[in-house]
């Protein structure tokens, strides 16, 4: 059976992202801890060759650095969350985020559609984190290197006045069999990457009860739609 040309990641159950994150972090750190303890034991073993002990010490440092990267990727998710910043002017905030991301990634071009003024449903700091993750994801090629990327951002208002942003990139897309797992922690096709970008997005949006979808057309691009604000009358 041939793969569908357009697929969508299934919506996770509430709290599922946080549990998956926890489970995967436990898994991802247990081997490193085991290695660190083992190498330290070898260094402490009698009659050690100095060159070998130095090599084991280097391996300990490498594993500690790996664990530091994992720690950094979850650190800001555990900080106390603020209340939604309802007074913020959404179009101006988006402009600021897009400008910062474009400066950070020279190959990135964000095409802005009209976004109405609306009240945020999450703190502006968290919206910035989410958008930055998504834009960085769009600009990284499958080899993990930055590439030229165009992202179209449009807004639409759904039932109940919820405003959703739609970010559509022109990247390579996500393979259909990978898409359902794409928000899982440590799932990545990019060499040397942790694969926690979409997990962070999912975890943050879940914290505020905001819906999001991820769709992709292989070789044509990926689209993320996420609720971020409420349009006032």
């Amino acid at each position: 059976m041939s793969a569908p040309a357009w697929v969508q990641a299934p919506a996770p159950a509430a709290g599922a992202g946080a549990e998956r994150l926890l489970r995967s972090y436990l898994h991802k750190t247990s081997n490193s801890l085991c290695g660190i303890k083992g190498y330290a034991g070898l260094i402490a073993a009698p009659d050690q060759d100095t060159a070998k002990a130095a090599g084991w010490a280097q391996k300990i440092i490498r594993e500690v650095e790996r664990m530091e990267a994992i720690y950094r990727s979850v650190q800001d998710l555990t900080a106390p969350r603020g209340n939604p910043d309802r007074g913020v002017h959404l179009p101006a905030l988006l402009d600021d985020v897009f400008r910062v991301c474009e400066r950070r990634c020279p190959g990135l071009q964000v095409l802005r559609g009209r976004v109405p003024a609306a009240s945020l449903l999450l703190p502006k700091g968290d919206l910035c984190l989410v958008l930055t993750e998504l834009l960085l994801n769009a600009v990284e090629g499958t080899d993990g290197e930055p590439r030229a990327a165009r992202v179209e951002v449009t807004a639409s208002t759904g039932p109940g006045g919820r405003l959703a942003l739609r970010l559509r990139d022109d990247g390579p897309g996500i393979a259909p069999d990978l898409l359902p797992q794409a928000p899982d922690p440590f799932v990545t096709t990019k060499e040397g990457h942790l694969g926690v970008g979409l997990t962070r997005v999912q975890t943050l949006l879940e914290m505020y009860g905001l819906a999001w979808t991820l769709t992709s057309v292989p070789s044509a691009g990926t689209t993320v739609t996420l609720e971020v604000a409420e349009v006032s009358d």
Binding site: L22, C34, G41, D49, D177
Partner: protein, 132 residues
């Protein structure tokens, strides 16, 4: 836990044979336990890939912790032998030192296998789900 004794070795320094035997037994036992950790790590990677329930991951992590605790107990039990070897190192025979280092290399290889297991899990996932 009592360690099994290895066969006697004819070495130059008095007492070296017994001391070396104790240390070789220690590292043989450690190698056995690290091989078990490696097996548990492989099963853990498989469980995560298959989205196994949290309780299953915790069970495997607990078993790994049990193995590491056992290694710590073994190490504590032979701390005196390690100190004694270190103190008399210069007097030990070349053959004895080589055998000890070989035993340590085996343990080192298993620890590297445990670390590589994680990288292998990632590589398999990449190979299975590469972007078209």
């Amino acid at each position: 836990m009592a360690l099994p004794r290895t066969t006697a070795i004819d070495l130059a320094t008095p007492g070296e044979s017994e001391l070396l035997g104790r240390l070789l037994s220690l590292y043989e036992e450690e190698a056995r336990v690290y091989a078990r950790v490696l097996e548990l790590s492989r099963r853990q990677g498989e469980a995560v890939r298959q989205g196994a329930p949290f309780t299953e991951i915790r069970r495997l992590l607990e078993q790994k912790k049990g193995c590491l605790d056992l290694i710590a107990r073994l190490e504590r039990g032979e701390a005196g032998s390690k100190r004694e070897w270190e103190a008399r190192r210069a007097a030990m025979s070349a053959e004895g030192r080589t055998r000890l280092r070989t035993a340590l290399d085996r343990v080192s290889g298993l620890i590297e296998g445990i670390i590589a297991c994680e990288e292998q899990n990632d590589r398999e996932l990449l190979a299975a789900t590469g972007v078209s």
